[in-house]
């Protein structure tokens, strides 16, 4: 940061600079820093031109804003540069291998971005008369058809906004179904290895969560499961393939058992990628399953969202689906938006309007691009790649569960024991090598877990290089070169960050620095 003379407020002496290879600006070649946007403002600039408001008689009823908001004024080029610089501090699938287990970081095709922005799609208003959005409704209807066909399920609720939201939808449908039967069940069974959203969702539906332990082979312990089942169990939430990257071999038995006791089978479909076109969840006894369009069907993760989590439903649960949904009317497509008529039993509404249309478009474009043949190929290549990594690293890392995995390879940290290097340290060293680390410390059932999901998008050459680099790092760790790990990352835009400090004293927003005029934005510099 600079004062208004262009000098750093914490001066860097030449000696300092040389010593630490620091620069005057704080930039290092193409690694460019940008202060907070609030530190770059000068009052009176404009970044968006617009017409002068016509003077009119105000109808605000005198409730005018009294104080300035406190935001900075910048020009368009400054804002552009700021965000370009920030972007360059991010890792991304487009830039490299991003084997984050459970996240399905696959290629995000650009054509999907393009079609989502077409005039007549990207600009549609959700409250247009349905007669003026027949193309949009056709998209929702087509996507629903693909999802139902892929999963072998008779119905789908399109509106949930993400995986967790889909879980909520599915478990609410389960609860509504029980209530419709006059039953009030209280427990939901969830394997220990489940993603955190599963228990959190069950709790939101007023259920008590009961954890089911895993077997030696990484699947749910059937004995424990059977023991916990009972007439007060509303259902089971099972991820399949599970979060250990394994197919739950007893899945049909699980379905049968839960059905026998009058419960429902919720399947977390986050890992659907592994089984596309090879098996349909509907054929395994599933009653509800969310589909993360932002995983399996490649709508971009966008640094954390938005996503879309349609939920396929069995005949038993379909009547309870939330509004809205698309129907085939006599003049084309229509939409049911209220809890009445065909939606009389609906448990309610999950979000404003009709769902994540932008994601629907991208997902449908992705499906059309793959077709039935490509979808199956996705699963095959995704599983092939995971197993290739598993075998490639088997001499260097320990797999807690033997045998073939599905779309992701799980390792534990037993090989690192005694080296002084942790899973986290290894991850940070991977950053220096140009990789995004795998998922760590999840699933919780494995100590120091490393969950590697390469996806079908990666070439064998990428995997070979990754296996080589991981082997190199692991050899180093075993050779006792601990310091190289503890200091890592060395080459990222930041070295390790103080997360404890951040949580202890949370600074969650910028505020006007003390000692400066509260009403005025500070004059600091970015280039």
């Amino acid at each position: 940061m600079l004062n208004n003379k262009g000098r750093p407020t914490q001066p860097v002496t030449a000696a300092d600079a040389d010593a630490a290879m620091e620069t005057f600006t704080g930039n290092k070649g193409l690694n460019l820093e940008s202060p907070l946007i609030f530190e770059q403002g000068v009052p009176g600039r404009i970044g968006v031109d617009m017409a002068e408001p016509k003077p009119v008689k105000s109808r605000l009823g005198g409730l005018d804003r009294k104080e300035p908001v406190g935001m900075p004024d910048l020009s368009e080029p400054q804002v552009l540069r700021h965000f370009v610089r920030l972007s360059r501090q991010n890792y991304a699938i487009d830039a490299g291998f991003y084997p984050l287990g459970s996240c399905t970081m696959k290629h995000n095709p650009r054509i999907n971005e393009k079609v989502a922005r077409l005039v007549g799609l990207g600009d549609l208003h959700p409250m247009q008369p349905t007669s003026t959005v027949q193309g949009a409704l056709e998209i929702i209807d087509s996507l629903a058809h693909w999802l139902k066909t892929i999963t072998g399920m008779p119905a789908v609720a399109m509106s949930p906004a993400a995986g967790a939201h889909g879980e909520l939808c599915g478990v609410m449908a389960i609860r509504a179904a029980h209530e419709a039967k006059g039953e009030s069940r209280t427990r939901i069974l969830v394997p220990e290895s489940a993603h955190g959203t599963n228990p959190a969702t069950a709790a939101l539906c007023g259920y008590k969560v009961e954890a089911v332990p895993a077997r030696q082979d990484g699947r749910m312990d059937m004995d424990a499961f059977a023991a916990k089942l009972g007439p007060d169990v509303a259902g089971v939430m099972l991820t399949n393939p599970n979060t250990c990257g394994l197919f739950e071999t007893d899945v049909k038995k699980i379905a049968d058992l839960v059905h026998e006791t009058g419960g429902y089978f919720y399947c977390d479909g986050a890992n659907l990628n592994a089984i596309l076109g090879r098996v349909r969840p509907g054929d395994l006894g599933v009653d509800a399953m969310h589909i993360n369009l932002h995983k399996t069907f490649s709508t971009p993760h966008g640094g954390g969202g938005p996503g879309s989590g349609p939920v396929v439903l069995s005949e038993a649960l379909a009547p309870f689906a939330p509004v809205p949904f698309v129907t085939h009317g006599k003049d084309g497509f229509d939409m049911v938006e209220q809890i009445e008529g065909p939606a009389a039993q609906s448990f309610g509404r999950m979000k404003g309007f009709h769902g994540q249309m932008g994601m629907f478009i991208r997902a449908l474009a992705y499906m059309q691009s793959h077709g039935a043949d490509g979808l199956r190929q996705i699963a095959e290549d995704a599983v092939l790649n995971a197993n290739y990594v598993r075998v490639g690293l088997q001499d260097k890392l320990h797999s807690p569960f033997a045998g073939i995995c599905m779309h992701e390879a799980l390792f534990d940290d037993s090989t690192l024991k005694g080296t002084g290097v942790t899973t986290l340290d290894l991850a940070k060293a991977m950053i220096d090598e140009g990789y995004h680390p795998m998922t760590m410390y999840f699933p919780l059932v494995v100590h120091g877990a490393m969950l590697i999901e390469p996806t079908e998008s990666e070439s064998r050459q990428t995997l070979d290089q990754f296996i080589g680099a991981m082997g190199h790092l692991l050899d180093k760790a075993k050779a006792g070169e601990v310091d190289a790990f503890l200091g890592a990352p060395n080459f990222a835009p930041r070295r390790r960050l103080d997360e404890t400090g951040a949580a202890r004293n949370p600074v969650l927003r910028w505020t006007v620095p003390e000692g400066t005029d509260g009403g005025e934005v500070t004059l600091s510099a970015a280039s």
């Binding site: 403002g41 009052p43 617009m50 408001p53 605000l60 009823g61 409730l63 804003r65 935001m71 004024d73 370009v84 920030l86 501090q89 991010n90 890792y91 393009k114 079609v115 007549g120 990207g122 409250m127 247009q128 959005v133 949009a136 892929i150 906004a161 967790a164 609410m172 955190g196 959190a200 007023g206 049909k252 090879r278 098996v279 054929d283 395994l284 993760h301 966008g302 954390g304 969202g305 938006e337 509404r349 404003g352 309007f353 249309m357 994601m359 077709g371 039935a372 699963a379 092939l384 075998v391 950053i431 995004h436 999840f442 070439s459 064998r460 930041r494 103080d498 997360e499 400090g501 951040a502």
Partner: protein
């Protein structure tokens, strides 16, 4: 297939390395009777060229609000999104990154989130904001849950003039929990009165400003009333541009603000994805749902940002988490931040003034039409008209004339004869004078 790099030969070599002879061996764990033999009953893969054509054909079946005079609002607003915003969110590094779990290589996303949180807090007049919720409606529901946690009370009073979708989502979200939402009926002819409802068992009162019908209110007195009763005031904002012109919820004493951020940076996109805003007081921060980004330093003492206070979240707290949310509205919040940064203090205020002046201009043209009655005493950029005819048939007639002339209230509040003639009309900076004139002419003809 263009997205998959393996060749047949490579697949074979890889199988050999794995030590199996066929792809089928990888799927041996699937119960035999459930394994699919052939292909799914779906079309085969298509070229990019064909896919693009498919969607252009689908787009052609819709009436584009961009190319049509459009006066639709009701919680989603047509605004001009600067091209820079859409350009930046398409940069690979923002578009194709995950949640910033590895802060050393995610400073771009994290710093932008910190800026987003700051902007949201600033415009709402609150102390802190989170890193986004799915949309305004879910944000509203989460705000109610949060209020219940903060007050350890179980009942929410929900204004009858809150957007019906927000009311429905809140009710739906609470229905299976030990909490309860009392949805009051819509009130058209007078100020809504909450006094009778507020008591010591009330966690919060939820109001919207401007309300669903477009009316602006000062909720300061209501806030005081809530606070006296130990309840929180939740203010919902679904047209954030209004905050550039009117008193902020914070100024009125709101405890939580739940908002829809779509108006800034996010295209209409037939209703989603949008971006839910959630802002509150610092003291409630540990009861907030959703991600929070915080400032810290790295090993070399350089400022940096991380996701923080994650002990609230599902991946740590599981069934005890404040919410089950994981994926949020990341890229939309980025678009919001970029658009808001472009506007800045000056532009945000001007945009709000411009919207209001446009709305007043149109109102003056419409309210003099025979058969049209303005029901709002106040409004920002949206108001409600009582028509001499059924509003939804008028809207259909207008659409046939190529004018998207407002939202019939009955689409959102059906089966209520009081509502059947009401039309919600929104107008923003995107409307030209000729758009307005086309609307006026068409409406006269339709009535």
């Amino acid at each position: 297939m263009r997205y998959m790099p393996h060749t047949a030969l490579e697949r074979e070599e890889m199988l050999a390395k794995i030590g199996i002879s066929s792809i089928d061996d990888l799927f041996a764990d699937i119960p035999e009777e459930a394994r699919l033999g052939g292909l799914l009953d779906l079309p085969l893969h298509e070229s990019e060229m064909t896919v693009e054509k498919n969607f252009r054909n689908l787009a052609a079946k819709n009436l584009s609000p961009y190319m049509t005079p459009c006066f639709l609002g009701a919680g989603a607003y047509q605004h001009h999104v600067p091209s820079v915003a859409d350009h930046i969110i398409q940069r690979s590094e923002f578009l194709t990154s995950y949640t910033p779990y590895q802060p050393e290589v995610s400073q771009g996303t994290l710093q932008a989130l910190f800026e987003f949180q700051t902007q949201v807090a600033m415009i709402t007049g609150m102390e802190v904001a989170n890193a986004s919720m799915y949309d305004g409606a879910t944000s509203c529901a989460e705000a109610v849950l949060m209020a219940c946690r903060v007050t350890r009370r179980k009942k929410a009073i929900v204004s009858g003039n809150l957007h019906p979708h927000y009311r429905d989502v809140t009710r739906t979200t609470l229905q299976f929990m030990e909490f309860e939402a009392e949805n009051l009926p819509p009130v058209l002819d007078r100020k809504e009165d909450f006094d009778a409802h507020i008591g010591s068992d009330i966690a919060c009162v939820v109001v919207q400003n401007p309300d669903f019908f477009g009316r602006i209110q000062d909720f300061t007195a209501l806030a005081d009333k809530c606070h006296e009763a130990g309840a929180l005031l939740i203010v919902v904002v679904n047209e954030v541009v209004s905050l550039g012109a009117i008193m902020s919820p914070g100024d009125m004493g709101a405890d939580i603000v739940a908002g829809e951020g779509q108006s800034i940076g996010v295209p209409l996109s037939y209703g989603g994805p949008y971006v839910g805003l959630l802002a509150t007081r610092q003291k409630f921060v540990r009861q907030m749902p959703g991600r929070l980004c915080g400032q810290t330093v790295d090993q070399d003492g350089k400022r940096g940002f991380v996701l923080t206070l994650s002990t609230r979240e599902q991946h740590i707290r599981r069934e005890k988490a404040t919410s089950n949310i994981c994926t949020n509205a990341g890229l939309c919040s980025l678009a919001f931040t970029i658009h808001m940064s472009l506007l800045g203090e000056t532009g945000f205020a001007k945009l709000a003034r411009l919207n209001h002046s446009q709305a007043v201009t149109l109102a003056e043209k419409l309210e003099v039409i025979e058969g049209v009655e303005m029901i709002n005493d106040t409004f920002f950029n949206e108001f409600t008209l009582r028509l001499s005819a059924d509003a939804s048939s008028v809207v259909e007639k207008l659409a046939a004339k190529g004018v998207l002339g407002g939202v019939p209230v009955s689409r959102l509040i059906p089966d209520d004869p009081d509502m059947s003639h009401l039309l919600l009309v929104a107008v923003t900076e995107t409307c030209s004078v000729s758009d307005m004139d086309q609307f006026v002419t068409a409406l006269k003809e339709a009535l």
